[in-house]
């Protein structure tokens, strides 16, 4: 059933037990975004080390989709090069637009969000963390 799919364990798990949900005092990159339409808030912190995402964390509040997506994202990008992380962001967006068939090897848990595509109003919730991440890494001096 569609509902079960969407809220499948992995999303609820990330929502209830978010990974990397904390401030990152040493992180030189960060961006806070909110979705005023539903009140979702996400702040992304990242620490780049030698061109790699050494540490990525988030803070925020909101619906299960926005928070689980942020949690999954931090896991997915940590350890990747900036370039890889950006490619991943593109891949995730493609999945959310229904354009790209997701690849579990690269997206990992994020594939669980595929079901959201059916609910257009909630796509914004799912991509909020990615928007913040992309703004953080393309901020001043990071383009």
């Amino acid at each position: 059933m569609a509902l079960e799919e969407l809220y499948k364990e992995v999303i609820l798990d990330h929502y209830k037990n978010p990974r990397n949900k904390r401030d990152l005092p040493g992180g030189e990159l960060s961006c806070a975004l909110n979705n005023p339409l539903c009140g979702d808030q996400i702040t992304i912190h990242a620490h780049l080390d030698d061109g790699r995402m050494a540490e990525v964390t988030f803070e925020g509040s909101g619906c299960s989709i926005s928070q689980a997506s942020a949690s999954m994202m931090t896991e997915a990008v940590t350890g990747r090069s900036l370039e890889e992380a950006k490619r991943l962001a593109g891949e995730f967006r493609g999945m959310m637009e229904g354009a790209v068939e997701p690849d579990e090897a690269s997206l990992g848990d994020l594939v669980a969000l595929k079901g959201v595509v059916k609910y257009p109003v909630r796509i914004k919730c799912a991509v909020l963390a990615w928007d913040a991440f992309q703004e953080a890494v393309s901020g001043p001096g990071q383009t």
Partner: protein, 410 residues
């Protein structure tokens, strides 16, 4: 049957209520957002197009005279529905948002001077806030706000210091779309008039759900959204006290609102036509007349009583189920928009799970972000009721909440 309404019979008039979503019967609890339409309204619109369609005023032929008569008859009906003795005090337009903007342009921009104040409340809908922000920015006036009391009513204890001779306009919702709160309009109108201000009542929620008498309440402007009171989308209007309408500048310029047009200047018709430029929402207002007939047949007192009963039942059942309900508890002081927060489940998650059960509620800020900040929540879930809703549907709502709880294990 609740109160005096025969809900089972009423439901038969609403074709959409036969629909199923996700293989469940539709439980539509979002009438504060927009109401459903009875067969009588849908048919009136079709019949207009099939038998009488023509443009107004302009045609010297029978079809056009029929359309004009139907349109002007709709104006008289809407005027009488809100207690206005003069049909000419009702301007037709798309609804509350367009109406508020009309007053903000034609009236507020004309009278406001730097240092003047517009007094609103903390619970206003964006449609009764953003147009005043624009007017304030254009004129140098300032916005002030009547705060909310703990119980979700307006805190009028400081009214005297808020409503002063600097206040030129008091804007207040007759019934909050988030809290249901119904402020004491008669008292507020008198207080506004005492300092020489006009009162603009946002009637988007009030007019569909309660008896309104602009003359008895001594209201200067009242906004009306037809689509929330069984009428077609794009129907509705603005009531304005005649003397004020006369003084106001026109807003939209164009055909039909003019008397004489020269290349460089124009003169204008008398109200209400001064404010009705171009081809109007003809079929829509004629459909609204059918909606008003429908409501009048039920009787607005019965409508209100029905909603009080279902609202009381909903507040009780939701509270019992563990939800936090916002707004006044006393159904004498509130309408049927019931906002709540349920066990830490985000309203969006809640609404989506409810949808799977066929239950339509609204989740979000309800176009009232400043109020959300006052309430200290990012969003609420909201169930709202109308003449076709029954206590069974409240039970369906509560049942669906339990299912959400099971899923979220909250």
């Amino acid at each position: 049957m609740i109160g005096e309404l025969d809900v089972a019979r009423i439901r038969k008039d609403f074709p959409i209520l036969e629909r199923r979503v996700h293989d469940r019967p539709l439980v539509y609890l979002d009438s504060s957002n927009t109401s459903q339409k009875p067969r009588q309204v849908i048919d009136r619109v079709s019949e207009f197009y099939e038998r009488h369609n023509a443009n107004l005023y302009r045609g010297v032929y029978e079809l056009s005279e029929e359309a004009t008569a139907m349109f002007e008859d709709a104006r008289a009906r809407l005027a009488q529905f809100i207690g206005a003795s003069d049909p000419g005090s009702v301007i037709f337009n798309r609804g509350t948002t367009e109406s508020t903007n009309l007053v903000a342009h034609g009236y507020a921009r004309k009278v406001l001077r730097p240092g003047d104040e517009i007094l609103l409340t903390e619970m206003e809908h964006h449609s009764n806030l953003v147009p005043w922000q624009f007017a304030a920015q254009a004129t140098g006036a300032t916005l002030r706000f009547i705060p909310l009391a703990e119980d979700g009513t307006l805190d009028l204890s400081g009214l005297e210091s808020l409503l002063t001779e600097r206040t030129k306009l008091l804007g207040v919702s007759g019934m909050s779309n988030v809290l249901g709160t119904m402020p004491p309009l008669e008292r507020l109108a008198a207080a506004a008039h005492a300092v020489g201000a006009v009162i603009v009542v946002d009637g988007a929620q009030l007019v569909p759900h309660a008896t309104v008498d602009v003359q008895a309440l001594d209201i200067d402007f009242l906004t009306i959204s037809g689509h929330k009171m069984l009428g077609p989308t794009a129907s509705g209007g603005l009531y304005g006290r005649r003397e004020l309408l006369e003084r106001m500048d026109p807003f939209l310029g164009g055909g039909e609102m003019i008397l004489e047009v020269y290349p460089d200047r124009s003169t204008f018709k008398a109200p209400p036509w001064k404010f009705e430029a171009g081809t109007m929402n003809i079929a829509e207002e004629i459909g609204l007349a059918a909606a008003i007939e429908y409501l009048e047949e039920l009787g607005m007192r019965a409508v209100r009583r029905h909603e009080q009963e279902i609202t009381a039942y909903a507040i009780a059942r939701l509270t019992e189920a563990g939800a936090t309900v916002f707004g006044p508890r006393d159904v004498e002081q509130r309408g049927g928009a019931v906002s709540f927060w349920f066990k830490d489940i985000h309203p969006h998650d809640l609404a989506q799970i409810l949808d799977q059960e066929g239950v339509c509620i609204r989740a979000g800020h309800h176009c009232a972000q400043p109020l959300m900040r006052v309430l200290g929540v990012p969003a609420t879930a909201r169930a709202s009721f109308y003449i076709y809703n029954s206590n069974d549907e409240v039970d369906a709502l509560v049942g669906a909440l339990e299912r959400a709880e099971a899923i979220f294990g909250a």
